[in-house]
């Protein structure tokens, strides 16, 4: 069975472009990936897997129409915040199975023209009673503060760190530092979450070309190996559950480490789903980067900053890039690939050999989340 590698990765700048069609943003990402691939012939791409949550029907066809990459199988994928990364997993499976030599994974979404917080599907039980994404994370945060006796200031340090990381990321929405006071004193959204503890909605796209060993060999050390591509759905567990320990991420991480034969202590950097301040803390713990309840202490110590033990979100994460759900998981991959190639410039993580990306979301009553994807990449 062939190994599977990423031979090219590129993204559109994330931002707010209310007057720009999503298809243009998608094309920018495809163009960036092709530029990254050098003189790669686009017609070698034999299938495309295109993730979006809000981009509407036939997003893949609408974007790829402008690139001439049509006629091949195009599968449009919706899995909420994990849409793009779920498409990458389909790409991985198809190449691994020997069906294609090279395929495209693309993710795109545009949210700048919408207002307010995102809502759940009207049929969702908790959603019909007033639960929104920030409210769900606020419930987790409140309980985490109660169980581990930490303050919201301890948790909000995530936002300061990630905005600092993005100072040197010209693809980020926000490229200015924030003080802890600014984060804490921004207006309340769902207490104790303030506005600047919630990721912003943004517009963006990212594209990844995935290939088998035969094609990847032509790319030399620029090809980045996918060591695992894991996807899980949330489990419905009746009764009580510990909302400070997301079972879906725990379970997906265990599978990812088992399949890759790589443990959390070997990860050099991670891009994780910091949709809200508390989210990143929960994921340090459920990804095995530290023990349960230790996240804020190690954050304050600098363990998760560039230069620390396991830099988390060197790109600035969702806190700095904003969150176009279909694109987010693949933008994480773009950052991981850039880091593993040693091409991240001032935000480069030293000796980056193993990177993990984690993307989870989708509000469904009775589940921690609808979907979770984890990829582990090596150079």
């Amino acid at each position: 069975m062939t190994g599977v590698s990423i031979v090219a990765a590129g993204m559109a700048k994330f931002g707010r472009f209310p007057d720009r069609p999503l298809t243009d943003i998608g094309v920018e990402a495809v163009r960036a990936a092709l530029a990254d691939a050098g003189d790669f012939d686009i017609d070698l791409i034999e299938a495309a897997y295109v993730g979006t949550q809000w981009g509407g029907s036939m997003i893949g066809q609408r974007v790829l129409l402008q690139t001439g990459l049509l006629g091949i199988p195009i599968v449009n994928v919706e899995n909420a915040c994990s849409s793009g990364a779920s498409g990458l997993r389909e790409a991985f499976i198809a190449v691994r199975a020997g069906m294609y030599d090279a395929v495209l994974a693309l993710g795109c979404d545009k949210l700048s023209h919408t207002g307010g917080t995102l809502t759940r599907h009207p049929d969702d039980y908790d959603g019909s009673l007033g639960l929104s994404p920030p409210a769900l994370y606020a419930l987790r945060l409140r309980r985490y503060m109660h169980d581990y006796n930490v303050s919201v200031a301890d948790v909000a340090g995530v936002c300061v760190k990630n905005r600092r990381h993005a100072l040197h990321n010209d693809h980020a929405l926000f490229r200015n530092e924030l003080s802890l006071d600014e984060v804490l004193n921004s207006r309340p959204v769902a207490e104790p979450l303030t506005l600047l503890q919630c990721c912003a909605r943004s517009d963006g796209a990212a594209a990844i070309i995935v290939a088998n060993d035969k094609v990847a060999s032509k790319f030399g050390s620029r090809a980045i190996r996918i060591r695992c591509s894991e996807l899980a759905s949330g489990r419905y567990k009746p009764g009580f559950r510990d909302m400070t320990s997301p079972e879906i991420t725990l379970r997906t991480a265990k599978k990812a480490y088992d399949v890759a034969g790589i443990g959390p202590e070997e990860i050099n950097l991670a891009e994780v789903h910091d949709a809200f301040s508390i989210a990143e803390i929960l994921y340090y713990e459920s990804l095995g980067f530290c023990a349960q309840g230790e996240g804020t202490r190690l954050l304050a110590r600098g363990d998760f900053s560039i230069g620390g033990r396991i830099p988390v979100n060197p790109s600035g994460g969702l806190m700095a890039k904003g969150h176009p759900p279909g694109a987010t998981g693949l933008a994480q991959i773009v950052e991981a690939v850039t880091q593993l190639r040693g091409e991240a410039g001032p935000r480069q993580v030293e000796n980056a050999r193993v990177a993990l990306t984690h993307c989870t979301g989708g509000g469904v009553s009775g589940l921690d989340h609808g979907a979770c994807t984890i990829h582990i990449l090596t150079n």
């Binding site: 009673l129 409210a135 606020a138 987790r140 109660h146 309340p188 207490e191 009746p238 009553s365």
Partner: protein, 135 residues
């Protein structure tokens, strides 16, 4: 005109509002909302089972960014009932500073939101137990 968002409640003989869960006849697990297959044993037979009139507030949040039709500021939370079931809902908090995790709460029926045509949607919500609330 009034609507009810969910009909998972009844009034008992003492006038208390009781939520009605769906109880698996095979393993006894309670579910709210209802499911087709029991998440504990995959049983498919259920009976209506009123929950205790009191539970404990597992966590809560005060929401300042209401979806259309909701009050400008409202509180929601998850409540754990002795029957081992956790239920989501709005929380009435006359004094929000008294809210805390694990606070005992009861159930009442109230207007939860308004529809675009101005009609009110009623349903259950949680309210701190009287003994706790006045202490």
């Amino acid at each position: 005109m009034e609507h009810e968002v969910h009909d998972y409640w009844m009034r008992d003989r003492d006038g208390n509002v009781r939520l009605i869960a769906s109880k698996c006849t095979k393993c006894g697990q309670h579910h709210l909302p209802r499911v087709a297959f029991c998440g504990a044993c995959r049983g498919t037979q259920f009976e209506d089972a009123p929950l205790s009139s009191k539970g404990n507030l597992y966590s809560y949040t005060v929401i300042h960014t209401p979806p259309a039709g909701y009050p400008e500021i409202y509180v929601v939370g998850y409540v754990d009932f002795p029957e081992q079931v956790r239920v989501f809902g709005q929380v009435r908090a006359d004094n929000r500073d008294t809210l805390r995790c694990d606070l005992p709460v009861e159930v009442e029926v109230a207007t939860l939101k308004k529809l675009p045509d101005g009609s009110e949607v009623r349903g259950y919500r949680f309210v701190p137990s009287l003994a706790e609330h006045t202490s």
